[in-house]
């Protein structure tokens, strides 16, 4: 059932302060809308949970990319195109830039925002494994102030997050210390553009003395939340990559993920592909493979 615009309110304050004041007045009543690539789809289908929307599109406080010596701070309102076109982001955060290029088509990349992807909280979102691999922090803001939260803790269940009803995601902070790590990312889906992943991976690693010194492995579409494979990372650490490690990594990864059967894929396929992706990452890492 199509929505009637006469039934909906939309306001567009011109400052972040005005937006968070509005959210604080009636916590949970107002739905922020940035580029609309998720919200307008729900609206068209008559499935929005609220009839009061507040536009945060193009607010200057949310659309900036700032580098300090240790980290980059990306405003939550930055679009995928903003990320893809930023030279330093491209050089230092290839996992994020690759995922941004797989999200939707160009028109969606021009409007979809990183903050929106995080708050929409789809376990199939392409850019979220990259944020887990890079150990992102989120800056959340409300009239009560700012707080900084490790992104790893943000998703608490399917489409459930730690965002309070009066809060907005203001920025995403990524440490710069992974810039010389080997990085590996791959989307397995029906087609790159406009298709939601069956499984996707973002992973970082470093070899030293013939063994895996460190690994960061995150997967999408294999659990109710974007998932970092902490146990798999742990068992590969300090070991040389060979047939026995690959078998152990596959087994550990299979035990960590919780895939489901849905319209896009099956538990069996997702489990097999997740294991293959983890193994491919480790093999390429051990070969000192070319960076993506």
């Amino acid at each position: 059932m199509r929505s009637d615009p006469a039934d909906y309110q939309l306001v567009a304050p011109t400052s972040l302060q005005a937006v968070i004041s509005l959210l604080a007045e009636e916590p949970g009543a107002w739905l922020p809308i940035a580029g609309g690539t998720d919200v307008m789809v729900q609206y068209a289908a008559g499935k929005l949970p609220t009839r009061k929307l507040v536009s945060i599109w193009n607010l200057p406080e949310l659309r900036h990319i700032h580098f300090s010596p240790d980290e980059v701070r990306i405003g939550a309102g930055c679009t995928y195109t903003d990320l893809r076109e930023h030279e330093t982001v491209k050089r230092e955060f290839p996992l994020l830039v690759s995922a941004a290029g797989w999200t939707g088509g160009i028109a969606n990349q021009n409007r979809g925002t990183l903050g929106g992807n995080i708050v929409n909280a789809s376990p199939a979102a392409d850019s979220l494994p990259a944020l887990l691999a890079y150990e992102a922090d989120l800056i959340l803001i409300s009239v009560r102030g700012e707080r900084r939260l490790p992104y790893l803790e943000f998703h608490t269940g399917y489409k459930q997050t730690k965002l309070a009803p009066d809060e907005l995601v203001q920025a995403i902070c990524l440490p710069r210390r992974f810039s010389d790590y080997f990085s590996y990312t791959r989307k397995v889906g029906a087609r790159n553009a406009q298709a939601i992943s069956k499984v996707c991976i973002g992973a970082l690693g470093r070899m030293a003395g013939g063994v895996v010194q460190e690994a960061r492995i995150a997967l999408g579409s294999v659990a109710p939340v974007p998932l970092r494979l902490v146990q798999t990372e742990g068992i590969v650490k300090g070991k040389p990559v060979g047939a026995s490690l690959l078998a152990l990594a596959r087994k550990t990864a299979a035990a960590e993920i919780r895939p489901i059967d849905d319209i896009r894929s099956t538990v069996r396929y997702r489990s097999a592909v997740a294991g293959n992706l983890v193994a491919e990452f480790l093999e390429k890492l051990s070969l000192g493979g070319t960076k993506i």
């Binding site: 609309g36 789809v41 009061k52 536009s55 290029g101 160009i106 028109a107 969606n108 021009n110 553009a193």
Partner: protein
């Protein structure tokens, strides 16, 4: 809250469409696509899927390719919109439109306005695109007639013609 009540009634909003300043009386959550088609009579942008998958409603907003079905018109306030109707200069077709005609890039025509605007956006960013650039630039626009090859060739030819004129 008084501000909320005001936003439930249609209000006047101005935007520039194909170079002309227009003022419309609309609900703020009306989709830009509906404003263009129903208030301004510009039916070049089509509604295909209505959820940002097919690209048939593509327009340029402040020079950027967008799906007009996903834009609440309030977010287009004071924006500069270009639709397919604004691409030709009078009766002089744009190089892309000429190339689509010459290469059979349009069959049923539903996807064509969006394809041409996506291509215009691509050529503005990359005047000399590779075939891979063209495929990626049009990857958000679906066509069920041509099989895409004629469209890709038309865009490549338009880029060549633009470079030599």
């Amino acid at each position: 809250m008084t501000a909320s009540v005001e936003n439930r009634v249609p209000s006047e909003l101005s935007l520039t469409v194909n170079g002309e300043r227009k003022t419309v009386r609309v609900y703020p959550m009306e989709r830009l696509l509906d404003t263009l088609r129903h208030h301004l009579g510009l039916t070049g942008a089509k509604e295909g899927c209505g959820e940002g998958e097919c690209g048939s409603c593509s327009v340029l907003m402040n020079g950027t390719l967008v799906n007009s079905c996903l834009i609440p018109v309030l977010q287009a306030r004071d924006a500069d919109i270009v639709t397919i109707e604004g691409l030709a200069a009078g009766t002089q077709l744009d190089a892309l439109q000429e190339a689509f005609l010459d290469f059979g890039g349009a069959q049923c025509g539903i996807c064509t306005p969006g394809m041409i605007l996506a291509a215009a956006h691509l050529l503005n960013k990359r005047p000399e695109p590779t075939m891979e650039d063209i495929r990626e630039g049009l990857s958000g626009n679906l066509c069920r007639c041509t099989g895409y090859i004629q469209i890709f060739e038309a865009v490549a030819e338009a880029a060549r013609r633009r470079a030599t004129t």
